[in-house]
């Protein structure tokens, strides 16, 4: 999700650079940038839910999952979130939303298959901490600041070159082409730096969410187990029936889809080993 935000940010910067090059004034560009950032924040949950194929589910459809969330929010006096299910065997979960009340926690069916109740509780408490800490807003703001930083720098830079170029009428095309390259280069540099900063913030927020989950459930080890399972570091006990597997003749095929793909998904997260280690330290300190 954060990666997609970063790529979105890159698109804005290129887009705004082109607008600035065309010669749009300071004010129109400010307004366009503002609208784009507002739209990104406003539609972030819808975009995320739509692109992941998550479906909202009611208490009647998934009573156990709703019960689980109800119990956590009740114990920690949090507002009840909406719950969504993504029908895929890949184990994952995320939270999205503009504020605690309108938030959505989404889990995949694969996650529910491989985790037991307490592990699932740990993962959901982690996502609920993201919501409580308003992490979506924090990251949107972070990308907003990076865009603004770029914007200010770019205008100063571009304005200077542009006015300098005006002195030589015949060379105007050459100069402005060179200016365009410099502008894009500076914009990209700003993007790279802000991308790294956003990733650092994101990693910090992940540790914070792990800590929050441990406090909510009182069982850091369950989240640690869940992380090991999700990341493929712990082999999963299958739930598909032996008779079905025999039918597919899949008995000695080593499951190919375990570690690497999920590792990619977690690239904005701290390494699982580090998170597990911190959770185990919490577990030990609880005596």
């Amino acid at each position: 999700m954060i990666l997609s935000f970063a790529i979105l940010g890159l698109l804005y910067i290129v887009f705004l650079s082109v607008l600035a090059y065309i010669g749009l004034g300071f004010l129109p560009i400010t307004i366009i940038a503002f609208i784009m950032i507002l739209a990104q924040w406003y539609f972030s949950d819808k975009i995320v839910l739509w692109s992941s194929g998550a479906k909202m589910v009611t208490t009647d459809q998934f009573p156990e999952l709703h019960n689980l969330v109800d119990r956590i929010v009740a114990r920690n006096s949090l507002p009840k979130t909406k719950i969504a299910i993504i029908n895929t065997r890949m184990p994952n979960a995320f939270a999205t939303g503009k504020g605690p009340k309108s938030s959505v926690v989404a889990v995949t069916t694969g996650l529910m298959d491989i985790l037991n109740t307490e592990e699932l509780e740990g993962v959901i408490a982690h996502e609920l901490t993201h919501i409580r800490n308003r992490d979506v807003l924090v990251l949107t703001l972070a990308s907003l600041f990076s865009t603004v930083a770029w914007y200010l720098m770019q205008f100063g830079f571009y304005g200077g070159l542009y006015s300098g170029g005006m002195g030589y009428g015949s060379n105007r095309n050459n100069n402005s082409a060179g200016a365009m390259i410099i502008v894009i280069a500076v914009a990209l540099l700003t993007w790279v730096v802000s991308f790294l900063i956003i990733r650092a913030i994101s990693r910090y927020r992940e540790f914070a969410a792990d800590r929050g989950s441990a406090q909510m459930t009182g069982k850091p080890v369950e989240l640690a187990n869940a992380l090991m399972k999700i990341s493929g570091n712990m082999k999963n006990i299958p739930t598909r029936d032996l008779r079905q597997e025999e039918g597919l003749n899949a008995f000695f095929i080593i499951p190919a889809l375990s570690g690497s793909t999920i590792g990619n998904l977690f690239s904005t997260h701290p390494p699982v080993q580090k998170r597990v280690q911190k959770l185990m330290e919490m577990e030990a300190s609880m005596g």
């Binding site: 999963n236 006990i237 299958p238 598909r240 029936d241 032996l242 008779r243 079905q244 499951p255």
Partner: protein
């Protein structure tokens, strides 16, 4: 039980490739059962089952008839009772009941031998042995699954709604690892849901 021993004894009960046979693995369950009871308070319930994929045709029907005949005769000599069920996956289940685990293992081995002799060994899926925790009898039962393809055991502790109690499964695994040929790769611990024991 002499009858069954004779049946096992007068046949050359070894695979052509010299692997340990199914009955060797199955018989090691006798001691493992005691360890499970002492360490985890898991007691053998007297129920077990074996399943094989049904095949159409006269040869398979004859094999089933021989199994029935054999089990009917041995019923007279021991307290091993049995029934047969066909499930929705097309597997034939032979469900055994006997207070002595040795009798059940002998029965399953002998039936396995008949199936080997009639060249249906590849049809064999698994044998399941039922255990229960005496402290909380209302809890679900636990099973040891013997997988014929792997020639190994693994634990299976079903909860309701196709969920497994992997905690107790790992505990069972720890307890029996030195006594039984066990499958250490948990990703091969395929469950068997909704079977009629």
């Amino acid at each position: 039980m002499n009858f069954i021993f004779r049946r096992l004894g007068n046949k050359n009960y070894h695979n052509t490739n010299g692997h340990k046979t199914d009955s060797d693995a199955l018989f090691s369950l006798c001691s493992a059962q005691i360890t499970l009871e002492t360490n985890l308070d898991l007691r053998y319930t007297g129920k077990a089952a074996m399943s094989l994929k049904s095949v159409s045709g006269r040869f398979f029907t004859e094999a089933v008839a021989e199994i029935k005949h054999f089990l009917d005769v041995s019923k007279a000599e021991s307290d091993l009772s049995y029934r047969m069920i066909n499930d929705s996956y097309g597997y034939l289940w032979i469900i055994f009941e006997s207070s002595k685990i040795e009798d059940i293992i002998l029965g399953i081995s002998a039936v396995g031998q008949i199936i080997h002799d009639r060249s249906f060994a590849k049809q064999l899926l698994a044998a399941l042995f039922q255990f229960s925790n005496r402290k909380n009898n209302n809890d679900a039962n636990q099973y040891l699954v013997y997988n014929y393809t792997l020639n190994k055991f693994y634990p299976f502790a079903p909860l309701n709604k196709n969920k497994r109690d992997d905690k107790i499964e790992r505990e069972i695994m720890k307890t029996i690892v030195d006594e039984l040929p066990v499958e250490k790769d948990v990703s091969l611990w395929y469950p068997i849901w909704n079977f009629a024991i």
